[in-house]
């Protein structure tokens, strides 16, 4: 293995890393927002919306992300919905897929909050949405955060699937280096190490939060 290959192609790796980080951050933001929304709807006891949310969950947890991404990107083109960028399609697919898992994490947290909290808020005159934001959600933190960050880890790694629709991220750049100079072993190790560098701090964070949750 020739490690100098990595250094001489560092710009490719850095641009790939940047693209991966960008997609990850965007998808974490939109996926969390969607998950929160879906969880709120699922626990709202508005029957039609709750059913709709459930249908969404089943579809997007029951099919591979790979298929969803391909469907969104190439399906949109086939349906004549031009204008969706590679980044947009990747973000949309990741949001929908991860949002389904994140929704279930939030739902578990919301349902762990005793019903009396809703009742006390209601008699005090707090509107439902206000109760959700100021009373219920803050109490879910200890339950939700560790699995949520765990889900983010899986999301970050899932961004690599965007390769199939041509998003030029870390894996794609690693392959570009291989195309140039060969030596797939070295290049893939470099790619893996870079993923690890992003994920490991989050992993440590989860462990710290779990320790805190136990002692709290």
């Amino acid at each position: 293995m020739d490690w100098s290959v990595i250094w001489s192609n560092r710009e490719l790796y850095v641009s790939g890393l940047w693209a991966t980080v960008l997609l990850s951050i965007a998808a974490i933001a939109t996926g969390t927002l969607l998950g929160l929304l879906v969880a709120a709807v699922r626990t709202s006891r508005i029957p039609v919306l709750a059913q709709l949310a459930r249908g969404y969950l089943e579809v997007f947890r029951g099919t591979p992300l790979l298929i969803q991404m391909l469907f969104i990107y190439f399906g949109a083109a086939y349906l004549g919905l031009v204008g969706i960028t590679v980044f947009g399609a990747a973000l949309l697919a990741l949001t929908l897929y991860q949002g389904a898992y994140i929704a279930e994490i939030f739902r578990a947290g919301i349902e762990a909050v005793p019903r009396g909290q809703w009742e006390a808020s209601r008699v005090l005159g707090l509107p439902r949405i206000q109760t959700f934001l100021s009373v219920i959600l803050p109490q879910t933190r200890a339950i939700v955060l560790p699995p949520l960050v765990g889900q983010y880890l899986s999301l970050i790694k899932d961004t690599s699937i965007a390769v199939v629709i041509g998003y030029v991220e870390l894996v794609r750049q690693g392959q570009a280096v291989i195309d140039r100079v060969g030596d797939p072993g070295t290049s893939y190790i470099a790619v893996a190490v870079l993923y690890f560098v992003i994920c490991y701090p989050l992993s440590l964070l989860v462990r710290r939060m779990e320790r805190k949750a136990v002692t709290a």
């Binding site: 009396g116 009742e119 006390a120 008699v123 005159g125 707090l126 100021s134 109490q139």
Partner: protein, 257 residues
């Protein structure tokens, strides 16, 4: 504690009167209330007693719209709670104290007391905190404003819960077994606060197993049995010479243990 609240005055809650007639409620197969009529006058302290399952807690929860009656008329503070559209007018204008306190664990005592003042009454933080501190002082916890519920004893937590309700300047206070979750030695500090509220003329409806409180504080004791009001009257009458055999049996059981 008289705190004027312009927002409260504009609302439909203009009286402390309660009037229920023909109230039925069933949970699935179980008929919990089988036609209850009950009136509470402004300033009156009414204590509901009865065995568990007699429907007294359900009745109380209907009075603050945490449960909805299947049929019958429910007027509370001038609001028809049987009218789905108008029922929410009651929220923020009556106080409810729960058996399990239901304090917000992520907020300090003061944070608990001021939340609705800030978000519902839309008071400024300074105004809300002033009122919040006054309410905490009212229940003898002025020095615990910055404590979190987990740092307080059960009796203190329940007093914060009372302060939280009082801060909203409620027309009526409801208590659902407020001392049942407390260690016996902590019951007195909560009933003490309730007694002083009664002395100040607060309209109160209380579900409790504290017969001493019922005896010395209630204007009227209502004995419920099997989903109906079986007997009611001044405490001397209900405790002294109960007319119904079921009442006698119940009192015999709870007073001897």
């Amino acid at each position: 504690m008289m705190i004027t609240d312009p927002a409260a005055q504009q609302k439909a809650v203009t009286t402390s009167r309660i009037s229920l007639s023909g109230v039925h409620k069933r949970f699935g197969e179980l008929e919990v209330l089988k036609g209850v009529d009950i009136d509470v006058e402004p300033g009156e302290v009414v204590v509901l007693i009865g065995a568990s399952g007699s429907g007294k807690s359900t009745l109380l929860r209907i009075m603050c719209d945490l449960e909805r009656a299947d049929s019958g008329a429910v007027w509370v503070g001038g609001v028809p709670l049987h009218d789905r559209k108008r029922a929410p007018e009651i929220f923020g204008h009556v106080g409810m104290v729960f058996q399990q306190f239901n304090l917000f664990p992520h907020k300090t005592a003061l944070g608990n007391v001021t939340l609705a003042l800030l978000k519902v009454r839309k008071l400024s933080r300074a105004e809300a905190e002033e009122r919040g501190r006054a309410a905490l002082k009212r229940v003898g916890l002025a020095d615990k404003a910055d404590a979190y519920p987990a740092q307080l004893s059960g009796g203190q937590q329940q007093r914060v819960a009372i302060a939280r309700a009082l801060a909203m300047d409620p027309a009526i206070m409801f208590f659902d077994e407020p001392t049942s979750a407390l260690d016996p030695e902590l019951v007195g500090e909560v009933t003490g606060v309730m007694r002083s509220l009664a002395e100040d003329g607060m309209t109160m409806v209380v579900v409790t197993h504290e017969m001493r409180f019922a005896k010395d504080t209630a204007d009227r004791v209502v004995f419920m049995d099997g989903g109906v009001v079986l007997e009611q009257g001044p405490p001397e009458q209900v405790f002294g010479s109960p007319a119904e055999q079921r009442t006698q049996q119940f009192l015999h059981r709870v007073l001897d243990t």
